[in-house]
Symmetry: C2
Subunit: 445 residues, 2 copies
């Protein structure tokens, strides 16, 4: 939907047309459209959204917009909205709202819902407990298919998902039945006969990233969440898992580029916040890079005699940095996808060593030919070539080892990426280079 | 499941125990376990998997294992397996098998299935057509809820998903009904009354990455695929979309680290293939880095007089590279998540300009204090500080602009990441630095 057309219709008070448009649009798209409106237009436009869609649109809006709307809603509007919203979306909303609006919302929901919300709000951030919902379909093992279908018909409409149903016995989860089973199996079969007993579950304290990984590994629609006593307390649904995966990827990419991760989008983050998220790592890396400078200063006499030596420093540093970050990226991704584990460390190192030999010799030859043509100086081609091979081997070994070690000591492997690796490799490459050069050319240091 | 225990039981011919273990394990975990077995053990172990689970285990295995099994299966075994497998998994299998085994499989399936497979195999790689399945539940608009439920009970068991049903009229898709609607609504309601008519669909030629993005944007379970005439031909299910998202993220990360993307996992790729995927970009970047070297050589006379100047080159180059890659990563991610578009280019540039002013002045002050303490030389602190600010502004502007421009000319923005940006920024930072230094210190070039 084109924003301008929509605005014009709204300002021309063509409410019937606006309503028709909103009627055929998807809730996600309406939310995106609403986010572009001015506050006063927003209030008006929001009230033109069909009732059955308003809660879904609201759940998809960003939090400043949600705050604004909660503030201007009448008691009745707020109550209607909250009745329609799923519990986990309500909790998401509360986590981002200012305190006075939180109170207003808690006063508008039923006592039972308020109790559940308060429990969910108490789980640690980024835990399964904080993203789960307590609304799910529970059945007993003696229930038949026909009874289960009747039960869903009566209670299912308010559950976020009814496609995975949980068979409980004394609040313990003993089996899982899918809606597909219920829809395709004989009416007289009992849950006990139908249910899957290989259950994949998490606890309320499982990290949300671990939860999301289970979804993509096992292609799940929902995962049951158990408390520390093994009692079933809720489910995480796949839409939240997809959001978590997206968030975690963004976070990894930020970390890998020396940025402190931040949940807001690019434009929603202010200039000062952007600067704050970037300057910390830059400072650390800048000060580390001065070591490389100090090493170079140490070899001042060498390049005073042979200034050409300086010309190859950038090429060596860049190639070392790139080689190291190639290895670290592949390992970081392998760790994230559970393809690589700590026990593989020597296997990885041996593999990277062989790769770096092939790559190093290849690059040294290519570069050697170039140097011979440009400078007709076999000695310098030899020195640069040997330095290249040494740098590449070292940088690939550093690049593959550090992320694995980081994970072992419970750090995010993603911080061992390009920027940090580059800084470490820089110093190493300069040392290798000048050691070889001073030896071959018999330069005094 | 511990591999050693499993192997011991298998070798001790404790088939009953093996079978019990396989009976309670998840198909995905069994596939992972099977992948660690020797070929001869694999054949034996695979035949001990419960019949109803074997096809799912098979679909989750890697292609060398699948090839091996297809080769040793009897006609009967192969036929049973293929009957149980979903159509899209069968097509995935065929895409990776050697030609002789493909023929064997096509001979084992029914004529109708063969026809459908052949159609699916003809869609371009990475298109919606190539990942879709043609097995879905279709209904008519006059069908009632009760009739639809009966229809699903008879035909649904062989469909990959029955949770989204499609209302067709002359093979055209006119509405969508969810299983939740069918399970919770009145038996006498018709599809026409129930169906959602705001349909999100793709065509057979839509890129799989675009398809996957729609899943996470709209939290879909399945998306209908239309042919160029607007006729419904299949659906893509969310499990495939999740795989695509994972694949595309891995690909982006590889590109961002100057690696040619590769679908195989780290250990499944040979040393030579690893080297091949990495050396191309390294070569390009290495040769580009020699420009920076040539610029430095140009200022040889300057650092002959003042060798200390060389010591700050690595710090400037690294900081420039890091700043540039911070900006490019955020922009690449923003483009991938559809948060940033080409029309935002000036807004982005202005934002990055302001951020780089804050970051640049901050770093220049920190570095200036360090230089004053270490060298008691305000002039060098001034030169390095100004160069830092200049380098940071330039590198952030380059880092934010290139990915946007790349997308505009239909290149993957991910190639405009750290490695390339670093190489470009290196040359710029050296020029800025020596220009300022020669000016301030009145050095001849």
């Amino acid at each position: 939907m084109n924003k301008e057309i929509f605005m014009n219709l709204l300002q021309a008070r063509e409410y019937k047309a606006v309503r028709s448009i909103l009627n055929v649009m998807n809730a996600v798209d309406i939310a995106a459209l609403m986010e572009e409106l001015e506050d006063k237009d927003l209030a008006l436009a929001f009230r033109l959204i069909p009732k059955d869609k308003a809660a879904e649109v609201f759940a998809n809006m960003n939090s400043p917009m949600q705050s604004y709307l909660v503030e201007i809603f009448t008691e009745k509007e707020l109550k209607e909205m909250l009745d329609e919203m799923f519990l986990d979306d309500t909790v998401d909303l509360l986590e981002d709202l200012p305190a006075n609006l939180v109170t207003r919302i808690l006063e508008s929901v039923s006592a039972e819902k308020r109790r559940q919300i308060n429990i969910l709000l108490n789980y640690p951030e980024d835990s399964a407990g904080s993203v789960m919902t307590t609304e799910y379909v529970d059945l007993r093992k003696t229930t038949t298919v026909a009874e289960a279908l009747r039960h869903i018909k009566h209670t299912g409409i308010h559950k976020e998902t009814i496609y995975t149903c949980y068979v409980l016995e004394n609040r313990r989860l003993i089996g899982i039945v899918t809606a597909k089973d219920l829809l395709t199996m004989d009416d007289t079969m009992t849950m006990e006969e139908l249910m899957e007993t290989e259950i994949i579950s998490v606890t309320t304290h499982t990290d949300q990233e671990e939860v999301a990984k289970l979804f993509s590994k096992y292609d799940l629609l929902a995962i049951p969440v158990l408390d520390t006593d093994g009692m079933m307390v809720g489910i995480v649904t796949f839409d939240d898992a997809m959001d978590v995966l997206e968030e975690e990827t963004t976070e990894d990419m930020a970390l890998m580029s020396a940025i402190t991760p931040n949940e807001k989008s690019y434009f929603a983050t202010s200039v000062l916040d952007h600067a704050k998220h970037r300057i910390v790592w830059l400072l650390v890396l800048m000060l580390s890079a001065t070591f490389t400078g100090m090493i170079i200063t140490h070899y001042e006499d060498a390049f005073q005699v042979m200034p050409l030596l300086v010309a190859f420093i950038p090429m060596l540093m860049d190639t070392g940095g790139n080689c190291g970050s190639q290895s670290s990226t592949l390992i970081i991704r392998g760790l994230a996808l559970d393809e690589i584990h700590f026990s593989d460390i020597f296997r990885v190192m041996f593999k990277e060593f062989r790769i770096s030999l092939v790559v190093g010799i290849g690059l040294a030859i290519a570069n050697g030919i170039r140097l011979l043509i440009m400078y007709q100086n076999p000695a310098i081609a030899f020195v640069v070539g040997c330095s290249l091979i040494g740098t590449i081997i070292l940088s690939k070994l550093i690049g593959c080892t550090l992320p694995i070690l980081a994970q072992k000591v419970k750090l995010d492997p993603a911080i061992m990426a390009a920027p940090l690796i580059t800084t470490i490799v820089d110093a190493c490459s300069v040392i290798i280079y000048f050691k070889i050069a001073t030896m071959v050319f018999h330069l005094a240091v």
